[in-house]
């Protein structure tokens, strides 16, 4: 089973929920935690894995043989991402703008361009007790993360519980992370920001055809706006975690919420039971 934890925006407590869920689930069976927030992978701070393996992830980029190049300008013309500029004496490539589509090397009339490789980040694998751990780490200044997210997801293990910590937002990187999950847990907080971002994240999950449920973080007891949203859209409201300064401090020091507040484990156990029973199948819209 693959569970994606998403939130529409950052800072709602996605990593808090995902890491606590992993810890609780690991008491019952095998778990793999996949941190797909490759711009800011933070899950390792909570779960403190020991690393076993590191692999670089590469994407294709053109290699230009300036000798064969006649400066005809065809490659710059076909590059929809403006990654190539033909100067009076040479062709210049802006690697971070290149999407590796291959247009330039397929269409160059003199065969001056061939596909090469460029490193965009790493996939690191390790384990934390019984939790298997995979994370992607995008190199700083790198703009394109979906291939790296893809590389993390290639490590998904069938037959175990895979927990994907998704990046924030609702654009390509999140889509790439959540796509194919069996269930998406949407973490929100009871503010207008939280509600607004929940609406977007919900729309995204629907678009991908992934059934979802909501968890409220930092609840002050009055979550009427979120409750209303869940009711109106028939999305299950799975649990509410209260606003808690000690948990916030724990987070600050890298201590997972369920370690600060073991009594919260029940919420996660209930979630696991809900998933096991396939309760979510009914919420696929």
């Amino acid at each position: 089973m693959i569970i994606a934890v998403a939130s529409g925006k950052g800072g709602t407590g996605k990593t808090t929920v995902a890491s606590s869920l992993a810890l609780v689930a690991a008491e019952k069976g095998e778990v793999l935690f996949l941190d797909c927030d490759v711009e800011e992978p933070n899950g390792h701070i909570m779960l403190k894995p020991r690393w076993h393996k590191k692999e670089t992830v590469r994407v294709p980029v053109p290699e230009i043989n300036q000798e064969k190049c006649t400066l005809c300008g065809r490659c710059a013309e076909v590059c929809a991402f403006h990654a190539l500029v033909v100067l009076p004496r040479e062709v210049m490539l802006f690697p971070t703008m290149c999407h590796g589509c291959g247009g330039c090397w397929h269409l160059c009339p003199t065969g001056a361009i061939s596909p090469g490789w460029r490193e965009i980040g790493q996939v690191e694998e390790g384990s934390s007790g019984k939790i298997g751990f995979v994370q992607g780490r995008l190199n700083v200044g790198e703009a394109i993360s979906p291939p790296l997210i893809q590389a993390v997801k290639e490590r998904i293990r069938p037959g175990v519980l895979n927990i994907i910590d998704a990046p924030p937002g609702t654009s390509c990187p999140v889509i790439r992370a959540v796509k194919g999950a069996g269930f998406c847990l949407l973490v929100t907080e009871p503010t207008p920001f939280g509600l607004h971002d929940l609406e977007l994240a919900y729309e995204m999950a629907i678009r991908l055809g992934v059934p979802c449920g909501v968890a409220v973080n930092r609840s002050d007891g009055d979550d009427s706006s979120i409750r209303q949203f869940c009711h109106d859209n028939s999305v299950p409201l799975l649990f509410q975690l209260p606003q808690d300064r000690e948990v916030a401090r724990g987070y600050a020091r890298g201590i997972p919420a369920v370690e600060v507040r073991p009594e919260w484990k029940g919420h996660f156990l209930a979630l696991l039971a809900f998933l096991e029973k396939g309760g979510y199948a009914r919420c696929a819209n």
């Binding site: 709602t12 933070n42 291959g102 700083v140 920001f193």
Partner: protein, 288 residues
């Protein structure tokens, strides 16, 4: 005219809340919300929508079945697996690279205009606000960010405003990079958590990479003073000044819940912190 870009390395550190407060304090400015994935600033500023215009993303391919000979060349060349059985293009997967369009021997591929989002112009009681909304699953957030900034610049020039306050997107990817060019100062809002340190380091690295002047504001600094010191020494290492310290204050949540900038309801250390931050920023930006 100056542009202040507020970034954070990740979401939820209080970037938008800080921007909302600066928007109240600055007198002559335009606000730009560049978090085009999940724009939130307008929720604090009670705006009246004035205009909305479509934002066009890269054109996407469609295949004209009448002209198609079924040679499979496009299928073979498409690196995004966007072309499915029967030569139907999946618009979510198509990145608009035009490889199929150029390669097709019989001109069967057409590139079709496509609306990827919207750009909004609003009036608020604190001044004009430019914001945007990128469609779900759309690419090109960097381009939309650039469009928001361009519009804010135009408005600021037209109204001879002193300052543009840009609420940046989270992260250090394409949209954040798109916010850096030409900014006068990047204010990074950081929090004193373990992950906050990582996030801060990555944004400072990014600002350095693009040669931008940066300053840091530590939000909830008293949550974990030891980590706050770690953030300070990190800033030191990057020769970036810490220009603000805001306390952990549950009234912030209350204000945000009511959709109001914090400065209008807080007092004590929070209020002092925000005012002091604004003074420092004014000095750094050489504003009156």
């Amino acid at each position: 005219m100056r542009e202040l870009v507020v970034l954070s390395g990740k979401g939820g550190t209080g970037k938008t809340t800080v921007c909302g407060n600066l928007a109240v304090l600055a007198s002559s400015k335009v606000m730009a919300d560049c978090d085009v994935d999940a724009a939130n600033l307008y929720l604090l500023l009670d705006p009246v929508l004035k205009s909305s215009s479509p934002f066009y993303g890269l054109k996407k391919a469609t295949i004209n079945r009448e002209k198609c000979l079924g040679c499979n060349l496009c299928l073979h060349l498409c690196r995004y697996d966007a072309i499915g059985p029967g030569f139907v293009v999946d618009p979510v997967l198509c990145e608009g690279c035009t490889v199929c369009y150029h390669a097709c021997p019989c001109g069967a591929v057409e590139m079709i205009e496509h609306v990827a989002g919207h750009l909004f112009l609003s009036d608020t009681r604190y001044g004009p606000l430019v914001h945007a909304r990128l469609g779900i699953a759309e690419d090109n957030s960097g381009k939309l960010v650039a469009a928001v900034r361009k519009e804010a610049r135009r408005l600021a020039e037209e109204g001879t405003k002193e300052l543009i306050i840009t609420d940046g997107p989270p992260g250090i990817g394409c949209p954040a990079i798109s916010c850096l060019s030409g900014a006068d100062l990047v204010l990074v809002v950081a929090e004193p958590t373990f992950s906050g340190r990582h996030d801060l380091e990555r944004v400072l690295e990014l600002a350095k990479h693009f040669g931008c002047r940066a300053a840091v504001c530590i939000n909830k600094w008293d949550l974990e003073p030891e980590n706050t010191r770690a953030l300070e020494s990190l800033c030191n290492r990057y020769s970036v000044p810490v220009v603000g310290y805001l306390p952990y204050d549950e009234s912030v949540m209350e204000a945000v819940k009511g959709g109001r900038p914090v400065i209008q309801e807080c007092s004590g250390p929070m209020e002092e912190g925000i005012l002091a931050l604004w003074d420092e920023l004014k000095a750094l930006l050489e504003l009156r």
